[in-house]
Amino acid sequence: MGTFAETPGTTAIGVKPRRAPWLKRIAWRVLAAIFVLWAAATFTFFVQELLPGSKATLILNQEHGTQQTYSAKELKPVEERYGFDEPVTTQYFNYIKGLAHGDLGTSYQQHKPVLTIISEEVGPTIVLTVTSLILAWIFALATILLTARRKRAVSALGSGWEIFSAGLPYYWLGVILLVVFSIELKIFPVQGGTSVEGLVLPALTLAIPLAGFIGQVTRDEFEKVLDQPFVTSARARGMGDLAVRVKHVLRHAVLPAVTLSGWALGALISGAVIVETVFARPGIGQMIVTAATNRDVPLVSGVVMLVAFIYVISNILVDVAYAIIDPRLRG
């Protein structure tokens, strides 16, 4: 961001250089983010405390694959190992302290740190979500550039498709793609694992509804911007239609959708949970479903906290991206 040095605030007329307001804004955002994370952690902790029955019993039952009650003597070592014998306030402070140091707890089932398990599984999920996010933007922008404010039928087709595709549930779209392209046409493998061919259908399943959503948000703005005076002036200068759309209009029109990126990442991770199940693709989604089924509470809440963390971080990044896309905000 070297260009920021040339902004008017730093001219040498003897005026004290004004500290860029966006810097202060971002500092505030970071403080607010820490608050959100703390509150999210507190919520997650107390949901765990609501667990009916004793956690030590749950853990022992999981270890032995049984459904029984245990004597206090049998429960004692487990309670000591996980710190359940401490008062709730101590447990709470330990939990928060652990999170601050990047300790998401220990899995009830695999007896490994949650962060280790997540980092082992997260690779394919990152590949899937990032590919989908890129695809979704490409689809959305292509649809907008080609159909917004064109002939009535074309525009209606474009926006109709956006509304329809945004409402498609991942499990249904995934199943249809799987049936058509893998089972009937046999173009892609039914169980692709982490291969490149195996990535196509899962990524499409995640990308199509998101593209519809981004498209809906962007189209409104895009059509508004097309009426702005600077668009007319660009056209008057003899700029071609496509150039106007790409160089002038798009830049403004993507802003609302960029704001929603933090939300979109959360939606993509939720979607990955379902898509990985549909296509039997390894990743964090499959893992968390298994963990929820086995009632491995620390593992599930660890993933939930991690997603909250990603949400908060991406919202800060969005703020920065905003300042880059919209020069007026650099102050």
């Binding site: 949970v273 963990a291 599930v300 939930v304």
Partner: protein
């Protein structure tokens, strides 16, 4: 516009004859009913009937096992095919409507209740109350619906109740933000100011002016919410974390069909179709009502 000639309307030709006199008096709300809206209405009506009296829509028993016709593809006898136990899929979807719709209604009820409490608190409270509630809502946004559901399932075990609460709490922050916005807009409106100037007590202003006017536009949003809640709840059940399989609830059907995907596509595609079509119809109806309402406010 009404069916009788509108003399008071500017721009209406003054001496023009009144052809409308011989036309059938069409009620105002019927106009602007496009085919899509009518179709959506019929579909929603179909599922509401399925929810209340499913036996009207099918003569088949959704639980009747028939091992001589397992996994049959759609035909005239079984328009949506049969499952691994030879049960008629169409009958199961019709009978599943009750549970699915109740789950959707329950989840929406919970989320709307939370949203109204939080939104009204934030909208009417002072700076501090608003600040705290709004930050709290922001915190809730950090939990995607499905992940919240997985956390609830891990803690409380899978059940319909867990599903309803997870979807209800997970979708609440979006509504809460809308309610707050509406309450703020109403609070600062001219008629509320007028009522205040007339010396009406605060309680009665809230009850008679702010609350009804802030909530009216949201009725539509809540209706749409039922469709979305059903989509979410079915996703949870699809993962095997909802109501267990013998039930014909739509998500449970999706979950049960997963193992037969390579042999019997209809077991996955048909229940999904029911969910998508129902949710899409609710959206269409909701948008129609919203347009009508907005038109109504301006008149």
């Amino acid at each position: 516009m009404s069916a009788t000639p509108d003399i008071g309307r500017p721009g209406a030709p003054v001496g023009a004859p009144a052809p409308a006199r011989f036309r059938l008096a069409v009620p105002e709300w019927v106009r602007g009913l496009r085919p899509g809206v009518i179709l959506a209405g019929l579909i929603v009506a179909f599922f509401v009937v399925a929810m209340i009296v499913p036996s009207l829509l099918t003569s088949q028993d959704p639980y009747a096992v028939n091992l001589s016709q397992t996994l049959e593809s759609p035909s005239w006898a079984h328009i949506m095919g049969t499952d691994q136990s030879g049960r008629d899929l169409y009958a199961r979807i019709v009978y599943g409507a009750r549970q699915s719709l109740l789950i959707g209604l329950g989840a929406t009820g919970i989320s709307v209740t939370i949203a109204i409490v939080l939104g009204v608190l934030a909208g009417l409270g002072n700076k501090w109350v608003d600040g705290i509630v709004s930050r709290g809502v922001e915190v809730m946004f950090a939990f995607p619906v499905l992940l919240l559901a997985l956390l609830f399932v891990a803690v409380f075990g899978p059940s319909a109740t867990t599903e309803i609460f997870a979807v209800g709490i997970g979708t609440a922050p979006g509504y809460a933000r809308m309610v707050r916005g509406q309450v703020l807009a109403t609070r600062d409106s001219g008629y509320v100011e007028a009522a205040r100037a007339l010396g009406h007590p605060y309680g009665s202003i809230v009850r008679r002016h702010i609350f009804p006017n802030a909530m009216r536009p949201l009725v539509v949003v809540f209706t749409l919410g039922v469709g979305q809640a059903i989509v979410w709840a079915a996703g949870i059940a699809f993962l095997g974390l909802g109501i267990p399989p013998p039930s014909p609830e739509w998500g449970a059907l999706l979950n049960a069909g997963r193992n037969y995907i390579t042999q019997a596509w209809w077991l996955e595609v048909m229940p999904g179709l029911a969910i998508v079509v129902f949710a899409l119809s609710l959206t269409t109806l909701g948008r129609f009502v919203q347009q009508r309402l907005e038109g109504g406010v301006n008149r």
